[in-house]
Symmetry: C2
Subunit: 276 residues, 2 copies
């Protein structure tokens, strides 16, 4: 009789949305999974890579009731103790605002083996899908990725940061874009700083808007896009987006023809901004 | 006679080092490539995914003569005009300090089709491979990724940032770690701020060190590791690394046995730091 295989947990970054942006290692982990605990933002085609696995939705979205983190921990522990290979499938990268660190520490505390597979983060690939390079020589020597929740953190940091010195990507920020814009205006950030909204990046529902910090609070988001995961981008690199999108239309679209791409008509026009 | 296929350029993020961290889309692009222009940090096993392609090294490393960016542009243009599928294979993500934006804009300027495939950035996966989650609830609500070259940029930004408020990842920073540490000490950053060095992340040569801002300038790096791509991590999240590494030993090692992992003996011991 063969020895029972010990269970293990694998924290997998599913990438920004498009199943093609999963890593080779993540795809293999899904193929080996017996249980997949997945988030709201994970594409069904990614789940299909785990044909042997039971799949359990543990996600949460803005304003909705959420499964407790301790419940997720308990589900991981119980299955691993039963010898299962458990994939905890997380949108983006497990360590970028994904609570992967908490899950890894929990595994350590209870003594179950754990592996972390990094993913393409939507904090970088999301702007890229809208034509925005988060860094660019002579324009932005770096990028600051920040949670917009709670507001005390981003306020303490952005009120000190020289405006426009690095690209700022604010995650989970769609609903609070008005208060973010007001706060930054009050902190002396220039009204004409290029700014963007990117929703559902790299998915068929992707929607983007570009404008300025002065406009972003009142930017109209279509009703059917408001539930998409959203990020804001603040900085001069946003002004490169029209030229880069023209050169690099979104994946799966016909080159140089955005009409068939991921960006719907509502996203146009793309105003060309001045670097302040 | 079939119509000639038009050429195109694809800017591909190769990920942090481990070939398994390539995305599915990147692997497919390599399979279709007829010419691959690759950087110094790209693994030969990644190049092996492009069996049909001519491969040309265009990389540069610290202190070495480099091929000019304009030469890379000219190579892309010539091959695409000849109808080739050209993959520009870049370490990490094309838009994170990789000059991908410049190459995309060049393609737009000369009117050749271009696609950008994001990658797992070493700025996030590098710390993760050393057990460091760049964000962590209650410890770091964000991460600032910055080039250490030239020093004027990071100095202007870090002298204003509240120390320890977000995780700071400094890229291309190994050689200047002493001057970075001195500068931050002069700017009032606490000597006991947890700090890490990560070299060659996710490769068999990975080497890491953890300590404090006070120590990092004098941290000894073995002679045979000094040419590896290096980053510094500054922030309280570094203090989580021992516990997370114990829970999640580096990929391909036996669980709970770091001796066979990617982190050589020189990297131990891992001091447990206090969150300041």
């Amino acid at each position: 009789m063969p020895a029972k295989t010990p269970g293990r947990a694998i924290l997998v970054g599913a990438g920004p949305g498009d199943p093609d942006l999963l890593t080779l290692r993540a795809a293999r982990a899904l193929g080996a999974a017996e249980l997949v605990l997945y988030d709201a933002l994970v594409d069904p085609r990614v789940l299909a890579l785990a044909p042997r696995a039971a799949r359990f939705y543990v996600g949460k979205r803005a304003g909705r009731a959420a499964i407790a983190q301790s419940t997720i921990h308990a589900l991981i522990l119980r299955a691993v103790r039963r010898g299962k290979t458990v994939v905890r499938l997380k949108a983006g990268d497990p360590f970028v605002l994904g609570r992967g660190g908490e899950e890894a520490l929990f595994c350590g505390d209870v003594g179950i083996p754990c592996e972390v597979i990094p993913g393409v983060t939507s904090a970088i690939a999301g702007p890229a899908a809208a034509g925005i390079p988060v860094t660019h020589r002579g324009v932005a020597p770096g990028v600051l990725v920040l949670s917009a929740v709670p507001d005390t953190h981003y306020r303490a940091i952005l009120s000190r940061l020289p405006p426009g010195s690095v690209t700022v990507v604010l995650m989970m920020a769609l609903g609070s874009r008005s208060s973010i814009a007001s706060f930054l205006a009050g902190a002396g950030w220039p009204a004409e700083l290029p700014a963007a909204i990117v929703l559902g990046a790299t998915t068929p529902s992707q929607w983007s808007w570009t404008g300025t910090l002065a406009d972003i609070g009142d930017a109209e988001v279509p009703d059917d896009r408001r539930e998409l995961p959203g990020l804001l981008v603040l900085g001069p690199v946003v002004s490169l987006s029209l030229a880069i999108l023209t050169a690099t239309p979104p994946a799966r679209s016909t080159p140089h023809d955005r009409r068939h791409g991921h960006i719907p008509q509502e996203a146009t026009p793309w105003p060309r901004m001045q670097v302040p």
